[in-house]
Symmetry: C2
Subunit: 472 residues, 2 copies
């Protein structure tokens, strides 16, 4: 069984989550009941205490007091928040975070990335790296991650094993790439790539048949590293298996876009135009289950096509700034009807934290605004929506995770902010860098968390009701 | 006496500091001797151990073994680094970090900033806020800070007292502003502003006559909030007191620049043109002791004028992105001959960390590069230079702090990076977010620190030889 049964749980305190893109909802003095399968079964506001909430909830739910474990916090600096959803990251690149020099995408891949990814065919190294990235992202409140592993099947499968055992919800993708990468690191043929993909899919389905925690994801690296027959084969597989999500990269960097135009002219794809999006579309890979990382330089036409197909965009601001890809126009994409979430994109992105991605999404949106479009700016509320509800939609789990509603699963974090003593003392240094002086509104506390928060503020993390991380 | 005498000290391990803008120097197996007044008196490379270094150093320095306290670290994940220099921040705005909404400079001042600054005339509140900001910045390795306080003299003096007692090197400026701010928060007249300024200068000179740790700094807030007579009076004072540094803001935001043009036409200043820089120049405030915060939208002419006068620029990338001021062209400024350092600019900037400012300087430079000038990108080495040696020059302490050379003072931090266990375990969580796997070069370790480091990596901090912060 993928997830061992849990006890019933009741949480009491303040809950904050995205009601809409523009608005956070604050539920104070509230109790949330989560059943043994990790599902939210009741939300009750206006209780004076945990005891009062239990007194009301237990009979309704037909739960006995000793079947329930309770987590309660009444501090005005503590709140429950939905777990973060990292819609794009390369587990295999984690050891390279922060290491990219002055490179841009194509030289970055050859210099830093392919050698590291290839080296993870060593199972001991893969175990060390994957264990670390899972623990690290959990510590930062990431309850669900859309992972790229490597070309290698056994270590991809190991990543799925490790996610399942750590209890981190994950899409795990074996990377398909049969051209343009060094000969030491690629699929030998389209057939070999498809067969390795099937092998990994079967394995992951075997360890978690209900997709409770881990699920496989079709993962063509990006168009330039896939031959037309490989893309075609993956499109066929996607059509045969409508339960499988798809993830790839798009329109990250201008040289990459030029390369795609060169490699995939309309004459080769049968597409009506030479856009990057149309290449995926021509091969049946632009679907409502497709996660497109980046989308920095999309044209008007492409944004409309993506919206029409229902494909989603993973915005990776830290990465886009770090390797000088560009500043994605997230407001514009959303106005075109494209669903967006956030990705750390390690190690193009330097940080394991979706909170840092949210912060940097706000900052990058201001750089877009500097170009003249003041409406481009994303608010604190909006970047937190992208980090949770938006992300859930991107990974195909809308209505299941990303917020606090009856029927959704309990993927959540307990956030604690530091409080400044009357003498200005630093108090408990492990409280981190958010300093609450006491007079701040709840909205201001949340803004402080977004701009100065880190993993020290994420005290406990649950996935599907199971406690998967706790700071001591 | 400003700083109580210390014991002689010897440090042993790896020392990393900026040799030039482009190059970090790595001194391994090295000992640095610091005398009781906090001055570096010897640097000896190529020792196999602390004992070997002491055996060589003590007789040369005529020190007895029991007069020396030693700090030694041989771990390949530990190194000594110069203390950071924050060339621009508002101590009084610290409680507002992260709180700015979607505002830009002029509305941000009125909405968020002036009310908070005004409230610090309450001495208890000022003590709480100032104590906190000093401890917080010390914890982030800031050994020297150029502070703006408020208009209020007693609490400005309190800030100087607190810096002196905490041992943080600081310029402390009473803010001069006699127009355009709300009536509840401004100097009553140019005369009142000058007299309050003198009062604060005298107080700070009284508590640290040799400027060992704290020194006063002339602080016209920025041109729009100062009348011509006030600027003139401050220019006169600056001429009479060539020992005093000057700090102000320049060219942060386009509306601000338009306002300056409106308020200070050449007919009013006698300047030859209507540029922002020429306003300060006309009043004798553009000197080689002047720290100009921001400089985002400077013209070619202004950059040349600033370089000619020897004034310095404090680059505040977190602030410039957060309140949508613009992307300063640091490479261009440096090529024009302008000396640059980094500022956190709290609370326009959201972070107390100069390391975060360094990281964001690299990222913002990439946004400048996206405009087409690939050479704009700043390297890890360059942003660390700005954070240390560049900053020292900006605050007028070049040759005294910012690096490890005989004759300089020991303003330093011990940096420790986390090491990943063989099982991928997170080890000591308090190690922070830099994960060293073991195979990284020293250059890569430094890059990892710049991109994922935080105060958890700053284990010990010294100013002028005195230990001023230690993480337990």
């Amino acid at each position: 069984m993928a997830t061992p049964p849990q006890r019933n749980k009741v949480f009491f305190g303040t809950f904050v989550h995205s009601k809409t893109l523009a608005e956070l909802e604050y539920l104070h003095n509230t109790a949330i009941a989560v059943n043994a399968t990790g599902k939210i079964v009741a939300i009750e506001p206006d209780h004076t205490s945990l005891d009062s909430a239990l007194f009301s909830l237990l009979p309704k739910l037909n739960w006995t007091a000793d079947s329930v474990s309770a987590t309660s916090t009444a501090s005005p600096s503590h709140f429950f928040f939905p777990g973060f959803i990292d819609t794009h990251l390369h587990a295999s690149q984690y050891p390279n975070v922060g290491i990219f020099g002055n490179s841009t995408l194509l030289d970055w891949l050859n210099t830093y990335t392919f050698p590291l990814e290839a080296s993870l065919s060593d199972p001991a190294k893969a175990r060390k790296v994957y264990t670390r990235v899972i623990r690290k992202t959990l510590a930062h409140g990431t309850t669900c991650a859309a992972y790229y592993a490597t070309v290698d099947v056994p270590s991809t499968n190991l990543l799925a094993d490790l996610c399942l055992s750590a209890g981190q919800r994950a899409l795990v993708g074996r990377v398909c790439m049969d051209q343009l990468s060094p000969s030491y690191y690629r699929d030998e043929s389209p057939e070999a790539a498809l067969s390795a993909t099937m092998e990994s899919i079967k394995y992951i389905e075997g360890i978690d048949p209900a997709f409770d925690i881990v699920r496989p994801v079709l993962t063509p690296r990006f168009a330039p590293s896939c031959s037309a027959p490989l893309l075609q084969g993956l499109g066929k597989l996607a059509a045969e298996r409508p339960d499988l999500p798809i993830q790839t990269h798009i329109s990250e960097n201008k040289n990459e876009i030029a390369l795609v135009k060169e490699l995939f002219p309309p004459s080769a794809t049968g597409a009506g135009d030479d856009s990057y999006s149309s290449v995926y579309d021509a091969f049946g890979l632009l679907t409502d289950r497709t996660i497109l990382a980046h989308g920095v330089h999309l044209s008007e036409f492409e944004a409309e096509l993506i919206a029409k197909r229902g494909a989603k965009v993973s915005h990776c601001p830290c990465s886009n700034s770090a390797i000088t890809s560009g500043a994605a126009r997230v407001r514009w994409l959303m106005e075109k009807g494209v669903t967006c979430g956030l990705g750390t994109d390690m190690s193009g992105g330097y940080s394991p934290s979706v909170l840092e991605a949210a912060r940097h999404a706000a900052l990058v949106s201001r750089h877009v605004a500097m170009g003249g479009d003041d409406a481009a700016k994303l608010t604190v509320e909006e970047v937190l929506y992208l980090a949770t509800k938006g992300g859930a939609e991107v990974v195909g789990m809308e209505g299941k995770v990303g917020g606090f509603e009856v029927g959704m699963e309990w993927d959540a974090q307990l956030v604690t902010l530091g409080t400044v003593g009357e003498d200005g003392g630093v108090g408990d240094e492990e409280d981190g860098n958010v300093d609450v002086f006491g007079w701040e509104s709840w909205e201001d506390r949340i803004a402080k968390w977004v701009y100065n928060g880190d993993d020290r503020n994420t005290r406990m993390v649950w996935v599907k009701g199971r406690l998967v991380h706790e700071r001591k």
